[in-house]
Symmetry: C2
Subunit: 366 residues, 2 copies
């Protein structure tokens, strides 16, 4: 693997939309007992289910620490590839590479990772193993990479339409814990250079109480160029209402890189999901790691789905709105199977299906 | 990756000769300071040279612990793939998978590994990380495997001609530290089942003072079916003379699986190589690991070469016989480049180029 001293834009590369064809999907196996209850066992079952479901549609690789290797191999189906990889936690959307393509070849973009805020408001310390995940995935795939030593970004804080448009949130990208020395314009310039982007749309905030400083991938997702979903509630007493409304206002006002208005579909949230006493009690209390307290509201959202080859994998919460979410996705993705996975155990760790997956796009356009 | 509950012979698989076409080569990065002097730095340079040379001919993957990942990536050329893999030492010939082929597909044979003798006379403890290397390589290659939970074998203790013949040593395979509950016939049966072999030729011993209990790959190697080299000395005062003579007697008497006499070429050994005070002083002294004492004779042999696609990689010792070894190999492999690598640093760790490499054969015969 070569580390390239240029930028994707200069080299003619762009980040494909998630809905474009994949070579496969990467996942990291969850294990840290100060984030995942009961030593990670309940979460591991759900991660294994996610891996199994995606593997029906495209090759899946699960990265796992040496300590958990034998257990992961045992819990995962044969068709999933299991490879050793040290990690600090299981969010490969955020610490993994962002692949870019020139239509013939793909390369990885390896952002600096600092656990969602570093020493300012990061969620754990240290994060050095996570920060080498992107490089290691590029090695496994025999793909060259661009490395940004000085620019912090997580994959979950951006969504692209593959045609020059990127959507992100001010709450995250302008946060003190990311790139405090950079102006909004500096950040735009970096995103444009490293993702082959022309136009950036800034939503004010992400989902209420999202511990990532409001990652866009929990509130918004492109369905295809010019079409997207936005997490929504009609309950004006919920703090989420103002957040979703402000996002909608931006999206209705803005145009994408091609000058199109983006057609926005409201994806209704489940009722607030709170951590139970039992769930809180199963997590190791460790200084310096975000605690999981009884009664805390989790950032539950159907927008945290993952688009794979021929399917969409979305989180279910055993909520009446599960069915409405499925119906909307079925309508928006008529050519894909809609796979619902009961994902409370992923949510308890601080994210959802999109956060725990990372696509490797196919280099060749179909 | 699936673990198959059958045997290669039953499934129509056989171990190809090393001289048959490869998909690539695996190497493990050396680091343990109780075996490699000066924290492994001199050995790492030579391993990097071996990787670089082989990578001129076929894809090379270097497996490395998380601690050494950044250093290995820095020291290795871009074209070599670097992947994380926990290990106890760097001998992938012995702890890696032995691949078998049915002409369409390859699978790994994953022998039990016990550090060359387990608690009886093994060279270090523990060896659990090494024992999972074969499985992890199969995962990386997306190849199914046969696992022998109860049969100990190292890849360096066997050589095959790809046409039904296997050569090994009694010193190793009948040693107390391997499979003491099994008779010679039991062992033959297992080798035949798991390597698709018809005929086993037993040399009495390997190279004098070889710490592996006399691995065959340091004294003998097939060049092609019906043709092989044997490490040799004319010095009757050297204990090696009787060993090589006894091996030659067996090889001249025996026939291979196809009924052929094997044409044996004498590959003259270098003069005895002894550990210097300086070299000994650079190794951590740790109870339970084989010490590296000043003046100890090392098992130096040119037979420890590796055959790759289009090339042969052989160890040089800065000895007058280096040139003779090169000439003989040039004569025996007229269609391959003969690449000599000054390999004293590998030898100081207890093996040589063949011991640190493992081929992945191409599934399709050319």
């Amino acid at each position: 693997m070569k580390t390239i001293d240029s930028t994707p834009k200069k080299d003619g590369f762009r980040m494909p939309g998630e809905f474009e064809k994949h070579l496969g999907t990467y996942i990291i196996w969850p294990e840290r007992p100060d984030n995942w209850r009961l030593g990670g066992k309940p979460a591991q079952k759900v991660f294994a289910e996610v891996a199994r479901e995606i593997a029906r549609f495209e090759p899946v690789t699960v990265c796992v620490s040496n300590c958990q290797f034998a257990n992961a191999r045992h819990m995962l189906p044969d068709e999933v590839r299991v490879v050793e990889m040290s990690n600090d936690d299981a969010w490969i959307r955020d610490c993994g590479p962002t692949f870019v393509s020139n239509g013939k070849e793909i390369r990885g973009v390896d952002w600096r990772f600092n656990a969602w805020g570093g020493l300012h408001d990061g969620l754990y310390f240290p994060w050095d193993k996570d920060d080498s995940v992107a490089q290691k995935v590029c090695e496994l795939e025999r793909r060259d990479r661009y490395r940004l030593e000085r620019f912090v970004l997580e994959g979950g804080s951006i969504h692209v339409d593959g045609e020059g448009t990127l959507v992100t949130t001010e709450e995250c990208l302008l946060s003190e814990g990311r790139n405090p020395g950079m102006t909004k314009e500096d950040i735009e310039e970096t995103l444009k250079e490293y993702l082959g982007i022309e136009k950036i749309i800034w939503l004010p905030k992400g989902i209420y109480l999202d511990e990532t400083n409001g990652h866009v991938d929990n509130i918004f997702s492109f369905v295809r160029p010019g079409e997207a979903v936005l997490a929504w509630t009609d309950d004006k007493n919920d703090p989420q209402y103002e957040i979703s409304k402000a996002a909608l206002d931006v999206l209705e006002r803005e145009r994408d890189a091609k000058g199109r208005k983006i057609n926005i579909h409201k994806l209704y949230l489940p009722a607030p999901v709170l951590i139970s006493a039992d769930e809180s009690g199963g997590v190791d209390a460790v200084d310096g790691t975000l605690p999981r307290n009884e009664g805390d509201r989790l950032a539950a959202s159907y927008a945290n789905f993952y688009i794979g080859n021929g399917a969409v994998f979305f989180p279910e919460f055993n909520d009446p709105n599960d069915a409405a979410a499925r119906e909307l996705l079925k309508h928006l993705f008529p050519d894909r199977e809609i796979v619902g996975i009961y994902a409370r155990e992923i949510l308890l760790g601080g994210g959802n299906i999109h956060c725990i997956t990372q696509q490797v796009p196919a280099p060749l356009a179909d």
